[in-house]
C-alpha cells in the first residue's frame, strides 16, 4: 500500500520529508490534544482522570513490548514481571536511599533493563515459540524471588511493600489529579523515544531482523546485539511503567496484578492496537481498558438482574469479554486498530473515488 499524502503536501528538503509533524495544522492539533490532556483534571471526573492515569502507564509498558514484539519480532511473555522489577526498584530506592522520584524512575528503568537483558540471552539460540517459553521463565522466577528472598526488603510471603508518595520540589503527588501529570509527562517522553527509534538506524535494524534475519545479518546487522538492545529497551520501558504503577497504587507486590495474565493482556492490547506501529499501543491500551471497564459495569448490572448467578457474572464477565474481543480482532483485523485507522485515512483522501 502506497502511503497516500494529501494533495498539495510537498516537501522541499529531505529533512522536511523525514519529520514527524509536517503541516502547521498538525502542530495545532497536537497543541489542542496536549491542552485537553493537561487540563483533564480540571474538567474530567475522578473516574476519567484515574482511568487516564492507568491507561498512560500501561501504554508505556505496551510501547516497550511493541519494540520487542512489534518491531524486532521477538516474543516476550514476561512484561508484567519486568514491571514488578521496576516497581520494586523504585519503591526501594525512594524508601531506603531517599532518591527523588524522577531519578528513581530512571533507576527503575535501567535496573529492569539489565534484568531484561538476562532473560533476553536465550534469544541468541531460540526463536518464536521456544523464546516465548524462555521468557515465560521471567514470569515465574521474578514473583518467586519477591516472595521468598530478602523478606525484610521485598515483603516476604505477603509479597508487598509500600511505595511512598512522590514529592517533587515540595509538591506532593498523592492525589490522582496530580499524579496524572507524572504519567502524562513520562508518556510524552517515551512516545518521543518511540518515534525516534522507528525512524532511525536503530529502528530499521530492529525491523530488518524481524522481516528477514538472514539478510539482516548479511547487511551487517549484529543479530544478537540488536536482539539484546530490543530486550533492554522493552524492559527499560516496563521498568518505568512499573515504577509509575507502584507509586500510583502506593504499593508494589505480586498481588497487585503483575502476573502472567497481565503479560498476556498486554500482548493482546498490542495485537488489538497494531503490532509494529507507534499508534498501536495508544489505541490498543485505550480500547481494552475502556472495554474492560464496560465489561465490569455490565457484569455488575447482570449480577443485579440475575442474583442467583451474581458470583459468576462478577468474576467471569471481563475475561470472557477480553477473550472474545481478542479473537474477533485476530480473525477480522489481525493488523489492529492502527491499520484500520490508516485505511480510513486513505479512503478519505481518495474520496469520492474510494469505493
Amino acid at each position: 500500500m502506497t502511503a497516500l499524502r494529501p494533495a498539495g503536501d510537498f516537501d522541499r528538503t529531505y529533512e522536511q520529508d523525514m519529520s514527524v509533524i509536517r503541516r502547521p495544522w498538525q502542530w495545532v492539533a497536537l497543541a489542542v490534544v496536549l491542552l485537553l490532556a493537561l487540563t483533564a483534571p480540571r474538567w474530567g471526573s475522578a473516574y476519567l482522570v484515574s482511568t487516564a492515569n492507568h491507561i498512560f502507564y500501561t501504554i508505556i509498558a505496551v510501547q516497550g513490548l511493541n519494540v520487542l514484539v512489534g518491531y524486532t519480532g521477538q516474543i516476550s511473555l514476561g512484561q508484567a514481571a519486568f514491571m514488578l522489577v521496576g516497581g520494586y526498584t523504585s519503591a526501594l530506592v525512594t524508601t531506603h536511599l531517599g532518591l527523588p522520584f524522577p531519578l528513581a524512575v530512571l533507576v527503575a528503568g535501567l535496573s529492569t533493563g539489565l534484568v531484561g537483558l538476562l532473560f533476553g540471552l536465550p534469544s541468541l539460540r531460540v526463536k518464536g515459540f521456544y523464546l516465548a517459553m524462555a521468557t515465560l521463565a521471567a514470569q515465574f522466577i521474578i514473583p518467586w524471588v519477591s516472595r521468598h528472598l530478602y523478606p525484610d526488603l521485598l515483603g516476604g510471603t505477603s509479597g508487598r511493600i509500600t511505595a511512598p508518595v512522590p514529592v517533587i520540589f515540595g509538591i506532593s503527588f498523592g492525589e490522582v489529579n496530580n499524579y496524572f501529570y507524572l504519567s502524562l509527562i513520562t508518556l510524552i517522553l517515551t512516545t518521543i523515544l518511540m518515534l525516534n527509534i522507528s525512524r532511525s538506524r536503530l529502528g530499521r535494524a530492529f525491523v530488518s531482523l524481524r522481516d528477514n534475519d538472514l539478510a539482516a545479518e548479511l547487511l551487517g546487522v549484529n543479530l544478537f546485539g540488536y536482539k539484546l538492545r530490543a530486550f533492554f529497551i522493552a524492559s527499560f520501558l516496563a521498568g518505568v511503567a512499573g515504577a509509575l504503577k507502584a507509586h500510583s497504587q502506593r504499593g508494589v507486590g505480586t498481588e497487585f496484578g503483575y502476573g502472567l495474565e497481565e503479560s498476556i493482556i498486554m500482548l493482546g492490547m498490542l495485537v488489538i492496537g497494531g503490532l509494529g506501529t507507534n499508534l498501536g499501543p495508544f489505541l490498543g491500551v485505550t480500547a481494552v481498558i475502556l472495554l474492560e471497564d464496560l465489561a465490569g459495569v455490565t457484569g455488575q448490572r447482570m449480577a443485579q438482574l440475575f442474583p442467583s448467578q451474581a458470583a459468576r457474572f462478577l468474576t467471569s464477565f471481563r475475561p470472557i469479554f477480553f477473550g472474545l474481543i481478542l479473537m474477533l480482532f485476530l480473525i477480522f483485523e489481525p493488523r489492529g486498530l492502527a491499520h484500520r485507522w490508516q485505511t480510513i485515512k486513505s479512503a478519505w483522501r481518495l474520496r469520492p473515488f474510494s469505493r
Partner: protein, 258 residues
C-alpha cells in the same frame, strides 16, 4: 589488470551436507573490475558457492580470500558486509514490512555511525547523518528508476520491481564486490533487458566487480568477462565466454551424451 592480486580467491572449497557433497575442491578467482559469471545445471552448487562466500555456509575445507588477505570462511557473517561485499538472493530476501526507501536506508547500516542513544534522541548529529545517507539512497533510487515506489511497502510490490529494489539495497551498501544470484530469474524479456542495463551500468559507472549466477546463456555470454562452469559440485570449465561455448565438457553437462 590481470597482474593485480585477485579481489576474491576461492581456494579448494569443499562443502558437504551430511554425506552429500555440494561442492568439492572448487577453485577460481575474481579479478578486480570484471564481471564473472557462474553457470551450471540445477543443483550444480552455484548458490552454495555464493553462500560460502557471503558467510551463510561454512565450507569444511578450503579458503575464500578477499583481496588475498581476509579469509571469509573465518569471518563472522555480519562483519562480511563491512568488508565491501554485498549480494542479492535467488528468492528475494527483502524486508517486506518496510518501504523501498527504508529497505535501502537499512542497507546503510554499516556506513552509519550513530549509537543506540543517538538514534533514540535523534539529536543533531544523528539527524544530519540520516539526511546525508538519505541523499546517497535517493541517488540509487534515481539510478534504478524506482522513485515512484519510494514509499510503497515492499511486500506489496510486483516481482520484477522487488528484484530491482533488492539490487538497490545491495548497491546502497556501496560494495566493492557484488554477488548477484539469478537477478533475472522469472522476468520477461523487457525486464531482463532493463536488469542487464542496470548491471552493466553498475559495472561501468560505479566500478563494482560483479559475480553473477544466471541461467540465460545468451546474456551470460554477452556481458561476462570470464565464466566458471560447475556441475555436480565440481568445476568443469573456466575461461572467457567464447572458450566455454566450445568446451566439450560444458556441452556434455548441458546437453548430455551426444
Amino acid at each position: 589488470m590481470s597482474q593485480l592480486t585477485p579481489l576474491l580467491t576461492v581456494d579448494h572449497v569443499s562443502l558437504s551436507f551430511g554425506g552429500n557433497a555440494a561442492l568439492s575442491e572448487v577453485s577460481f578467482d575474481v579479478r578486480p573490475g570484471e564481471i564473472r559469471a557462474i553457470i551450471g545445471p540445477n543443483g550444480a552448487g552455484k548458490t552454495s558457492i555464493l553462500n560460502c562466500i557471503s558467510g551463510f555456509y561454512r565450507p569444511q575445507h578450503g579458503r575464500i580470500l578477499l583481496r588475498g588477505t581476509t579469509d571469509l570462511t573465518q569471518t563472522t557473517t555480519n562483519q562480511i558486509a563491512g568488508l565491501g561485499l554485498a549480494r542479492t538472493f535467488q528468492n528475494i530476501a527483502l524486508y517486506t514490512g518496510l518501504s523501498t526507501l527504508d529497505n535501502l536506508m537499512a542497507a546503510r547500516h554499516i556506513h552509519m555511525k550513530q549509537s543506540m542513544m543517538q538514534s533514540m534522541l535523534y539529536w543533531g548529529p544523528a539527524r544530519r547523518e540520516e539526511v546525508a545517507h538519505r541523499q546517497v539512497v535517493e541517488d540509487i533510487i534515481d539510478f534504478l528508476e524506482i522513485a515512484h515506489i519510494r514509499k510503497a511497502v515492499v511486500g506489496a510490490l510486483p516481482y520484477g520491481l522487488r528484484k530491482r529494489v533488492e539490487l538497490g539495497r545491495a548497491l546502497a551498501m556501496e560494495p566493492e564486490l557484488l554477488l548477484l544470484d539469478e537477478p533475472m530469474a522469472g522476468m520477461n524479456l523487457e525486464e531482463k533487458e532493463d536488469m542487464a542495463r542496470f548491471i552493466l551500468d553498475i559495472y561501468e559507472r560505479r566500478g563494482v566487480t560483479i559475480v553473477l549466477i544466471e541461467h540465460d546463456m545468451g546474456l551470460v555470454m554477452d556481458i561476462s568477462d570470464r565464466v566458471v562452469v560447475l556441475d555436480f559440485g565440481r568445476k568443469i570449465a573456466d575461461g572467457p565466454p567464447d572458450d566455454i561455448k566450445r568446451n566439450p565438457a560444458v556441452i556434455q553437462a548441458y546437453l548430455g551424451e551426444a
